[in-house]
């Protein structure tokens, strides 16, 4: 599945200072397509994009409190947070509120 991931508010520093990532996330088990949720995506991001200090990005299986998440420019608190189901070409934005004032 093609997704665009954007990191802001200092989180880009955790992935080689690259803010925008066009990624292809596999969501198949064998030949069968399965749904990709935000929970799956977070695990994928942690494994594939975060190069340092993962604890700045995640806590448990969710984002660290203070990290805002938007799916297609909509607060993920409105779409079910970890249960949000992603679709082809979705844009997911992560912004830390924890850096600087």
């Amino acid at each position: 599945m093609q997704l665009t991931l954007e990191f802001g508010g200092g989180l880009e520093l955790l992935c080689n200072s690259v803010k925008i990532h066009s990624v292809d996330v596999d969501h198949k088990v064998g030949e069968e397509k399965v749904q990709l949720t935000m929970k799956d995506l977070l695990a994928w991001v942690r494994k594939n994009l975060i190069k340092e200090r993962p604890e700045m990005f995640m806590k448990g299986d969710s984002v660290r409190p203070g990290v805002l998440v938007l799916v297609n420019d909509c607060d993920w608190e409105l779409s079910g947070q970890l249960d949000t189901i992603l679709e082809e070409k979705d844009v997911v934005v992560f912004i830390s509120t924890l850096h600087g004032g």
Binding site: G9, G66, E77, L78, G100
Partner: protein, 346 residues
């Protein structure tokens, strides 16, 4: 960036206008609202805080303490907007402190310089180098990373006052938000510092000092400030101060954010607790005089900055750090405790 259609059926309409899809959930009220309604409630709530607390008088000159970070960038934008919309009649300025931190402050100052043009607000920069003869980089080279936040906090506070005096402003506004204030309440409780606990929740402080400071974002959630900056595509800088070790403060921050996730109202409730503490206590604050050396307000013979500078210039950088400084005990008060820098005193 191209926005793909919202997920059908899942996101509800805005509970205020019922016309557009909701774009965020407000932490303060848990309302689901659209972008346009969000801009309106966000700005008008700040306007109400300004009016209800009589923060400004027509004709006043106001400096916005601008770091290039999210809070002060949004504050500058909203202040300029409200000043126009509601005819406050204020002369607004941006005031920045250049601590002399390579790769951090020089980059964030570039952001403030862009804000100067974007928002049409004149900018004044005061530097540690000009005021004290030392940059933060030079101080750290001398003292190491251990106590640098003591310098950072003391020097920055005074630098902002001196910049405000140069601009001849009546007040300084800072971007401290509700999360910052709740965090400071928690820190002051952990330190047993009830006197500061009262002060840190005041919307205006330093009315007895050279230039009062106020916090129009006292009730504004950090989440909403960041969402506002994101939706409006405001230009801000977001890198941690490289000299900020921040362990204790970071811990309090995490605690606040964990609470917010469970019950967002907790942030406002902590501020309320801080306010009520103030009424219940009557801890005496030290008498204010002026520094014999530089004339800045001080409860002791020399102000904190002068004690620290004396140490630096004599090659004894530990001077003034810790519970007792040099012979500087006019009111037998402790001198400078090793406080974390950040928004505590700024």
């Amino acid at each position: 960036m191209e926005v793909v259609a919202e997920k059908p059926g899942r996101v509800r309409n805005c509970c205020l206008c019922n016309l557009r899809k909701a774009a965020l959930k407000r932490p303060k009220t848990l309302q689901q609202i659209c972008r346009e309604c969000f801009y309106e409630v966000f700005e008008e709530e700040i306007h109400r805080v300004i009016v209800d607390n009589r923060l400004f008088k027509p004709g006043e000159r106001i400096a916005i303490g601008a770091s290039g970070g999210k809070d002060s960038t949004v504050l500058a934008y909203v202040m300029a907007e409200l000043n126009r919309r509601h005819n406050y009649g204020l002369d607004l300025f941006l005031l920045s402190v250049d601590e002399g931190i390579t790769g951090y402050r020089d980059d964030s100052l570039e952001t403030v310089k862009r804000n100067e043009i974007q928002y049409g607000l004149p900018l004044k920069v005061v530097s540690y180098k000009d005021l004290y003869g030392w940059t933060m980089d030079e101080i750290v080279k001398m003292i190491g990373l251990k106590n640098n936040c003591t310098f950072c906090g003391v020097f920055r506070r005074q630098a902002l006052d001196r910049g405000a005096a140069l601009l001849k402003v009546d007040k300084v506004v800072t971007g401290h938000n509700a999360d910052d204030i709740a965090e400071t309440v928690i820190l002051n409780i952990l330190r047993g510092d009830i006197a500061r606990l009262g002060r840190c929740t005041s919307i205006t402080t330093g009315e007895d000092g050279p230039i009062p400071r106020c916090k129009p974002f006292k009730y504004t959630y950090e989440k909403e400030i960041v969402m506002y900056a994101y939706f409006k595509k405001l230009d801000y800088f977001s890198t941690e101060c490289i000299y900020s070790p921040n362990a204790y403060r970071g811990f309090a921050r995490e605690f606040i954010k964990d609470l917010e996730r469970i019950r967002p109202r907790a942030i406002l409730d902590i501020i309320k607790s801080g306010e009520d503490f103030r009424i219940a206590t009557s801890t005496k604050m030290p008498e204010q005089g002026t520094c014999e050396r530089c004339g800045y307000i001080s409860s002791q013979k020399w102000c904190k900055a002068c004690v620290l500078l004396e140490g630096l210039n004599r090659g004894l950088p530990k001077l003034g750090i810790g519970r007792r400084g040099i012979d500087n005990e006019r009111n037998s008060r402790k001198t400078i405790e090793n406080k974390q820098c950040g928004s505590l005193d700024f």
